[in-house]
């Protein structure tokens, strides 16, 4: 991670600040490192680059529920608003067992069609997230088949200007093929299943040029037979300028590893260059 950040800082003087997109339109960073909402990857690519610009952004997210704490930090590159590359590292504290699970996620996303705001049809993107669990012992002991897996998703998103009483409404729908248990932190596959297509939906309303509120729903498989639940959140995101965004959310992660009613708070910061 440190090497990646240093490398990124070395590259910064070579590029100029990308600011071609309208404020807030790239969304924020989701927990697996892609541009999106908090939980769901969106069709938008990270950062403010348009067709002839490139952009770099970095983020850190902390999500704490009753028995677990997730820290996710990463970086994103946007090449000409066509390709997004991302890396995130997740550390997941299992408080009752005083142990930490970690995984690395390498992501790529290609914008296939459209523009969030202007095209007739929603912006459409195809993405992959390759995940490698570096602490697989717990996952294997729970019945997971693999310590790595690749999620493939298609995402479509649209911002409707003035749709709701003059307020802008943004929605995103993603369909993800995944074998991951608890997004990969509990390994991949299991005796109950080994790969499924799940739906993920986000809706947001912009209250002004700088502030958005919204909600997300992320369907998840239950490969391990541990009553793994779908995830939900309700969020508020603040975009004071094109250099930084901040998100706070109330999250409901349901049952994780047999421990029910995991609710709590989520905070995320993204910086853009």
């Amino acid at each position: 991670m440190f090497r990646l950040i240093s490398f990124t800082l070395l590259l910064l003087p070579l590029c100029c600040l990308a600011n071609g997109k309208i404020l807030a339109t790239p969304g924020v960073s989701q927990i697996e490192g892609s541009a999106g909402g908090g939980l769901v990857p969106w069709a938008q690519l990270a950062g403010y680059a348009t067709e002839d610009e490139w952009a770099i952004s970095g983020f850190c997210t902390q999500a704490n529920v009753d028995d677990f704490e997730l820290t996710s930090c990463g970086i994103q590159g946007n090449l000409y608003d066509r390709i997004e590359l991302s890396y995130a590292t997740q550390n997941f504290d299992v408080l009752p067992l005083s142990l930490k699970l970690s995984q690395d996620i390498y992501g790529a996303k290609v914008r296939l069609y459209g523009d969030l705001v202007y095209s007739d049809w929603p912006q459409l993107s195809l993405g992959v997230q390759y995940k490698k669990l570096t602490t697989p012992d717990i996952a294997y002991s729970l019945g997971a088949k693999d310590d790595n897996g690749t999620d493939i998703y298609i995402a479509m998103s649209k911002l409707h200007l003035g749709l709701l009483a003059g307020y802008n409404v943004l929605w995103n729908a993603s369909f993800r093929y995944t074998t991951a248990n608890e997004i990969g932190l509990l390994g991949f596959g299991g005796t109950n299943g080994n790969g499924a297509i799940n739906a993920e939906v986000s809706v947001a309303v912009l209250l002004n040029n700088h502030l958005a509120i919204g909600t997300e729903y992320r369907q998840k498989p239950d490969n391990l037979g541990l009553k793994e639940d779908d995830w939900h959140d309700i969020f508020i995101a603040w975009f004071p300028n094109k250099h930084v965004s901040m998100t706070a959310a109330y999250i409901n992660l349901g049952t994780i590893a047999g421990l029910p009613d995991q609710t709590g708070w989520y905070f995320s910061l993204t910086g853009y260059y």
Partner: protein
């Protein structure tokens, strides 16, 4: 989920309440002809100060643009005008306007409306009316 749905509905209905003010036309929300003239004048000042956008206007006639845009805004916002000026394609052909330039102009127009205390919903309605013209403006 049980807790999130009511909370979301609550937030959405809060937004719904503000729709009472939308009974007047967009033209009225822009404060009619004098309001639109002020917005366009602010917009021209914004453009004149902007290094990225000003070059596109360097050879243009300010008074021609001013009158054309005032009539256009009056027309699309439901005012008593009909825009019969040059079409968007003809005006912008050869300019090679990029996506970033277009968005910058949108931001300058937002600034101009902010300067004239146009409400956020009215700003969005103006943008929604102008956004479909983008295809006739950029990269030609």
């Amino acid at each position: 989920m049980k807790r999130i749905i009511p909370l979301t509905l609550c937030l959405l209905s809060f937004l719904g309440c503000s729709s009472k003010v939308t009974e007047e036309s967009l033209y009225q929300q822009l404060n009619g002809q004098p309001g639109i003239e002020k917005i366009v004048d602010s917009f021209i000042q914004q453009i004149a100060k902007d290094k990225q956008i000003f070059p596109y206007f360097a050879k243009a006639s300010v008074s021609h643009f001013r009158q054309g845009f005032i009539t256009h805004l009056c027309d699309v916002s439901g005012g008593p005008c009909q825009y019969q000026g040059d079409n968007m394609n003809d005006i912008h052909t050869g300019m090679q306007i990029t996506e970033a330039d277009f968005n910058r102009v949108v931001e300058l127009l937002i600034n101009a409306m902010e300067e004239n205390n146009i409400t956020y919903p009215a700003q969005n309605r103006v943008l929604a009316l102008l956004a479909p013209l983008r295809a006739e403006v950029i990269k030609i």
